[in-house]
């Protein structure tokens, strides 16, 4: 017996190659994180039955939905999988109420029953007052609420959320996010997102996808506070340096030593691939080699200064980032091209073993020092 969702999806499309195995238990919310082109949409489309994978098997609550080898491909309308996309996609010719009633109607309910169900769901998302409005008369946030009600009203066994908040106004996103949290409850859900806050608030577990492979998977807090893959670290807003574990911390391929503490207290296997992770806010910036003997000093050159909340994010050529005050930026006379020394206390550096994950491979794109950093608040190509 296999309650929940078990998906094994293999898709080859030109250069792109997706090979993912995932399991979502009943009542669990799984967040799939990954940058554009990592295969999230392909994965979601395969689960929803909108794509025919080359191989694998998708089983939902003991129903085989997709099994190319056995020639099984259950059409989308028989899957009982609800979808909430970036755009609400409310049917423009129907009122909000009839949009929500669409699922129950298609499921065989009478018009009256369907409307009753719809009104209940509209009330649940706090949108009953808009019942008689057409989609054209709704704001983006209202429409997305109603789209959520519509997805829930069809009583799906699995709910797929495809970046449900990314097209909603920034001011409205928090309210909608907490609404999602209260409504998802113990619904079997797969959430695709770029935003770490979505995963933090909504997901029990996180799966990180990179170039069509799962690079990391685990409980949300664990992955985001102790990321092993570059992407998860960027998402979590952390600097990440990969290398090999040493007794004191980590040595990069370029020979830089970073002191830090390993996870679980004890040192990770010395000589094993590892990553050092630390938040930008714990990085100090010097324009002269710092005196004394701070343990972690990394020489770098500034490539960009960006506003980050009330602070300024200083980005180095190596990919490291530091968050400092605007006053400090002026005082230090920083500009793109400045030579700087990034300093971070050993106590702030967490070293994680990566030999089980594929973080090393994911870092392949980086040169010798293999440094990644910077919270990915929202990259422009994520639209």
């Amino acid at each position: 017996m296999n309650p929940g969702l078990h998906a094994e999806v293999r898709v080859r499309r030109g250069d792109f190659d997706l090979d993912v195995t995932m399991r979502v238990g009943r009542g669990e919310v799984l967040a799939v994180l990954g940058r554009n082109g990592s295969g999230k949409s392909t994965l979601l489309g395969s689960i929803a039955g909108l794509l025919r994978p080359d191989g694998g098997r998708i089983v939902l609550e003991d129903r085989v939905l997709t099994d190319p080898d056995a020639g099984v491909l259950v059409p989308p309308h028989q899957r009982r999988i609800g979808l909430l996309a970036q755009q609400p996609l409310l049917f423009p010719h129907l009122t909000a109420l009839d949009n929500v009633a669409f699922g129950p109607r298609a499921g065989g309910a009478s018009r009256r029953e369907a409307r009753a169900v719809a009104l209940r769901h509209l009330t649940e998302v706090d949108a009953a007052e808009f019942a008689q409005r057409r989609p054209g008369q709704l704001s983006g946030g209202q429409a997305q609420r109603i789209a959520l009600a519509r997805a829930l009203a069809s009583s799906p066994q699995l709910l797929l959320l495809d970046e449900p908040l990314s097209a909603v106004d920034v001011e409205l996103a928090p309210a909608l996010r907490s609404l999602l949290r209260s409504l998802l409850g113990d619904r079997l859900t797969v959430l695709v997102t770029h935003q770490v806050i979505d995963a933090l608030v909504l997901a029990d577990r996180v799966l990180v996808l990179d170039a069509g492979r799962v690079v990391e998977e685990g409980p949300t807090l664990e992955v985001l506070t102790r990321p092993r893959s570059a992407f998860a670290a960027r998402l979590a807003g952390l600097n990440m340096v990969s290398g090999t574990a040493t007794v004191n911390g980590l040595r990069t391929a370029g020979g830089t030593e970073l002191a830090g503490s390993g996870d679980g207290g004890g040192p990770t296997g010395v000589g094993q691939p590892a990553v050092a992770v630390f938040p930008p806010a714990s990085v100090a910036v010097h324009v002269h080699p710092p005196g004394g003997s701070p343990r972690n000093v990394i020489r770098d050159r500034v490539v960009a200064l960006e506003p980050e909340c009330a602070l300024v994010r200083v980005r180095g050529a190596s990919g490291l980032a530091a968050d400092i005050t605007a006053g400090a930026v002026v005082e230090l006379g920083l500009h793109a091209g400045s030579e700087v020394w990034f300093v971070v206390k050993a106590a702030e550096v967490a070293v994680h073993s990566t030999h089980t994950a594929r973080a090393g491979a994911a870092d392949g794109e980086q040169p010798a020092t293999a440094v990644h950093s910077g919270p990915l608040t929202r990259s422009p190509d994520d639209a």
């Binding site: 309308h77 996609l89 049917f91 669409f102």
Partner: protein
């Protein structure tokens, strides 16, 4: 397009002049319009408008009502409206599904099919009429079979008029409807499917309501084309008063005997054309691109 050009030179986004940049204004200099083009352009426009104006000027207004209510005129008008209505309905019933198949079907060779559908649009109607005659005429292979099997002959009947009109009008309906289907995309249909709606439910409750405007303009265009049909009708259905002599045929015949009558009837067709343009123009232009 001019909006984009404004955009480059526009003041900061939140500036008060923002609204101005979104509309054409007299300050814009158009560089893509050589002045000399106005002359041939004016000639072309004149060629379209002046004959119609001439017709209106020449019209026997004093006898107008009398002329268009003569027995022959009424018969022709009634036959035209009836056959055009039936032909338009047939276009919807068979051309509608063809448009959906063309827009949504995933079969190799669809592009070829799409080109073939345009055939009646580029073929001289009289050739279409002849083709129909050689398919469904007494000696045509389908016509012979129908005659032998059911004793049915189609040429020179009102049915033939409807068939001829359907033949020439189909592409108008198919093309504008297919355009509407493509523009709308499949997103709503996909969403409906994830809500548990089987394909027929999606078709009736989502696809059709969303393309109603496109269908409407396609129908108006098709209806107009049916009303104006001449060549295919005369080749395939002949010219029998009350049976196959539609309004355009009547105009042509009247011209020989009573020019005033012909002009009056022609004006009726002009009036219909103007109504059609007023109703269907914007969408139709989009669909036929």
């Amino acid at each position: 397009m001019s909006g984009e050009r404004h955009g480059d030179a526009a003041p900061p986004r939140n500036g008060p002049a923002r609204v101005v940049t979104q509309t054409r204004d007299q300050h814009t200099v158009h560089v893509g319009l050589p002045g000399a083009l106005w002359i041939p352009a004016g000639l072309a426009f004149g060629l379209i408008v002046l004959p119609v104006a001439g017709l209106i000027l020449r019209a026997p207004w004093s006898r107008f009502l009398e002329l268009i209510t003569s027995e022959a005129s009424i018969a022709a008008l009634e036959l035209s409206l009836r056959t055009a209505a039936v032909a338009t309905t047939v276009c919807v019933l068979i051309g509608g599904p063809l448009a959906v198949v063309l827009a949504r079907g995933r079969v190799p060779g669809m592009r070829l099919v799409r080109s073939v559908v345009l055939l009646p649009l580029v073929l001289p109607p009289v050739v279409g009429g002849l083709a129909l005659l050689y398919l469904l005429g007494r000696n045509g292979f389908a016509g012979k079979a129908l005659d032998v099997a059911f004793g049915v002959t189609i040429p020179y009947t009102t049915t033939a008029v409807v068939l001829a009109q359907t033949f020439v009008a189909l592409p108008f309906l198919v093309v504008s409807l297919e355009g509407a289907l493509r523009t709308g995309g499949e997103r709503y249909e996909t969403m409906a499917a994830t809500l548990g709606a089987p394909p027929w439910t999606v078709f009736w409750r989502i696809t059709i309501p969303l393309v109603l405007p496109g269908l409407g303009s396609g129908m108006v265009l098709a209806f107009a084309r049916c009303l104006g049909e001449f060549g295919a009708t005369i080749a395939f259905a002949g010219s029998l008063q009350g049976v196959t002599r539609t309004l355009p045929l009547e105009v042509y015949l009247q011209r020989e005997v009573d020019v005033d009558g012909a002009v009056a009837l022609a004006l009726v067709l002009v009036a219909v054309a103007i109504v059609v343009i007023a109703v269907a123009r914007p969408r139709a232009a989009e669909g036929l691109q």
